[in-house]
Symmetry: C2
Subunit: 106 residues, 2 copies
Amino acid sequence: MRITGFASTPEPPYYAVIFTTQRTPGDHGYREMAERMKHLAAQQAGFLGIESVRDEAGFGITVSYWESLEAIAAWKAHAEHQAAQASGKKIWYAHFKLRVAKVERG
Amino acid sequence: MRITGFASTPEPPYYAVIFTTQRTPGDHGYREMAERMKHLAAQQAGFLGIESVRDEAGFGITVSYWESLEAIAAWKAHAEHQAAQASGKKIWYAHFKLRVAKVERG
C-alpha cells in the first residue's frame, strides 16, 4: 500500500498551488520535464511537499505546498521553470487551471 | 480532448477542500458511493465544483470547491456523507489527508 504519494506538511497555515491539467496525446519530453521540475521544486526555499496524480485519460491534479506566497512567486519566476511553463502552454497541456490557496486546516 | 474534468469556479475568494487518498484493494461499494457523493455534493448550497483523479495504483486527489467555510461544514455534517466518511475510514481508504484552503488566486 503506497503512502509515499502523500506530502508531509506542517501545521497550517501554509500555501497550496492546485494545478489541474489535461495532457495532449504523446510524450514530447513531458515525463522527463515533469521529473526534473519535481526535483527542482523540492530544492526551492519554502517548498513543503507535492502530491500528484494523473489518470489514463491524461487528466491530472498536482498540488504543491509552500511556506509562503513569496516562495511560490520565486518558484514561478525560476528560469528553468519558466521555460517549462512556456512549453506546457504550447505543447504538453490541452488545458490547465492553476489556483493558489492558503491552507487553513489540514 | 476532455476538458469536462475542470471545475468552472468564480473569481476568488472561495474555498477548496483538498482530499488526498490511497484506496484499499477491491471495490467494496466504493464506486457507487463515490458517484452518489459527487451527485449529492453538487446539490448542496455553496457547492462550486469538483475535480477528481485517481491513478491505477489507487492514489487519488479530489478537490471540491465551495463558497464558504459554512458550506463545507454543512456538507461535512450531511447525514449520508457522514456514513460515507465512516465507511471511508474503515473500508475504502488505506490512508487519507484532508486540507481546507482559501483560494486567493485562480
